[in-house]
């Protein structure tokens, strides 16, 4: 095969512009592509224009100080970026590569330059820059939205917690109400029905001694009825105290006061009472309630101590999941929780044959605790002891 390659044609149609210039910059030859780039006719350029004629003032300064200097020093210049001015005055960006062509003696005869039109590349570059800016804006926007979402989700979480709190309060109120209904129906119906029966006997009886005896029974029932009513009124009063004032109280101070009140019983029982409130030394809580809660739990522990060992009672506080808990532990008789848990905090329920057991203390204690939004739990083992855990409030 014989290929006749037309180098002239290749030179003219290459995507690069080519030109040759004299050391003073005068262009002495160029390919067609260069003329197309600049929109000049051949005769308007060759031997007429200098390279610098295609440059702006800034471009000329750069050409003389950087481009020419580098070309003189090293003989080549690669990929210098200029804006070339077309015949109609518009500009297009180019990269120029130049090589000095020297004589055998080393004199600079002319310069060969390639001109690569980078309009398209510049356009891409600009587009990329715009895209980059846009993406930065988007990312900023996203960060902002993210922040807003975070604030939103925190708000929702707060509302959720608030709702949960309301729900809990409602649940407590419901429980209290159902308790109250139960107590009212149970603890009031019994004495009233007793009064009715006694009344029937009394009316039927003709014997004076019998009537007198029946009258003493009336007194007993009326006494029970009054007591139950007073207890109910006390519990209702507590439950109405939703907005009762919270005072700053110190556990140690309350305990000292309570031990003062119980001094006689403590001495009589030789109970050993210890405490450690280091984890939570104080709390905002209705002072009277806290006094009454500690008084009840402490006197219970003393009352139900085991006759087989010295009573040891320990009080402490701790924080669990943002909840302040008061713990009262004793080594007393204990309660069979399998049998009695469901009745432990009910009115007039007792589990020990003890003359002072009336079944009011724990009932009132529970109402006081729940009114403030807390809860009470118990762990116990018969003949080992009992631990009451009172979740007083959330922080």
């Amino acid at each position: 095969m014989n290929y006749n390659i037309d180098y002239k044609e290749l030179y003219n149609t290459s995507p690069y512009g080519y030109f040759c210039s004299l050391p003073d910059g005068t262009i002495i030859d160029s390919n067609k592509r260069f003329l197309e780039f600049t929109n000049y006719k051949r005769k308007e350029v060759i031997n007429i224009k200098k390279v610098t004629d295609f440059l702006s003032i800034g471009g000329k300064i750069y050409f003389q100080t950087i481009y020419s200097q580098k070309l003189n020093l090293t003989g080549t210049v690669e990929e210098i970026n200029f804006d070339f001015i077309k015949k109609d005055g518009t500009k297009f960006p180019v990269l120029i590569n130049s090589v000095e062509i020297k004589s055998k003696e080393g004199h600079h005869i002319f310069t060969q330059s390639t001109v690569f039109n980078i309009s398209q590349r510049k356009k891409y570059e600009t587009e990329l820059l715009i895209a980059k800016k846009k993406s930065e804006e988007l990312s900023n926007e996203l960060t902002l939205r993210n922040k807003e979402l975070q604030i939103g989700s925190e708000l929702i979480l707060q509302q959720k917690l608030q709702l949960e709190k309301f729900n809990q309060e409602l649940e407590n109120k419901n429980k209290q109400l159902s308790n109250f209904t139960h107590i009212a129906s149970h603890n009031l119906r019994a004495p009233v029905s007793n009064l009715n029966s006694l009344m029937d006997f009394y009316n039927e009886s003709t014997d004076i001694d019998d009537k007198a005896m029946l009258f003493t029974k009336f007194e007993i029932v009326i006494g029970h009825l009054t007591e139950t009513l007073n207890e109910l009124i006390a519990s209702v009063k507590i439950q109405m105290d939703v907005n009762i004032k919270h005072d700053p109280v110190i556990f140690d101070v309350i305990l000292s006061k309570t031990m003062g009140i119980l001094e006689g019983k403590i001495l009589e029982s030789s109970a050993v009472i210890t405490s450690n409130f280091a984890e939570v030394p104080n709390i905002e809580y209705p002072k009277l309630y806290l006094e009454s809660i500690i008084l009840n739990l402490l006197s219970n522990s003393i009352r139900y101590r085991s006759p087989n060992r010295i009573a040891k009672i320990h009080l402490s506080t701790e924080i669990n999941n943002n909840e302040i808990t008061l713990i009262v532990t004793d080594n007393g008789l204990g309660i069979d929780l399998k049998k009695h848990r469901h009745r432990l905090f009910k009115l007039n329920n007792t589990f020990h044959r003890h003359p002072d057991s009336k079944g009011v203390g724990l009932f009132m204690t529970k109402i006081q605790i729940e009114t403030i939004g807390g809860s009470i739990d118990v762990e116990s083992e018969v003949e080992k002891g009992t631990t009451f855990k009172v979740m007083l409030r959330k922080i």
Binding site: H182, H186, R189, V192, S193, N194, N196, S197, I220, H224
Partner: protein
Amino acid sequence: MNKPLLIGIIDDDEIYQFTLTRIISRYKLANKTLSFFDGEKAIEYLTDNISIEENIPDVIFLDNNMPIMDGWQFIEEYAKMETKIKKKVLIFMVSSSVDPNDIERANKTNQISDYFIKPVSIDDINGVFDNLEKYI
């Protein structure tokens, strides 16, 4: 069933004990009544007298709400000793609870013959004794 000889009342309410005892003696519904102020005392008595048939009550009026051991807990303990008791004891639960759960539970419990809501009138008591056959 003939009129019972012995009736047990298990109730912590002393006045109720008094009124029910009085009704029983007045209408001669039984020869004797036994009073227990909580379930545990009654179980202790039954345990001690388990083999003495005449000391086992024919009918028991059982309160469901009592300290120490309530009516349900009494039934639980009673069920354990039931086979050792040679006589059919009719147990009536008497309660001031109108809770439908309690009533349903009583109906489902074999040991309980019937459930009464306090106050129990003289007519109620008489009704029980006139129809004792129906509960056996």
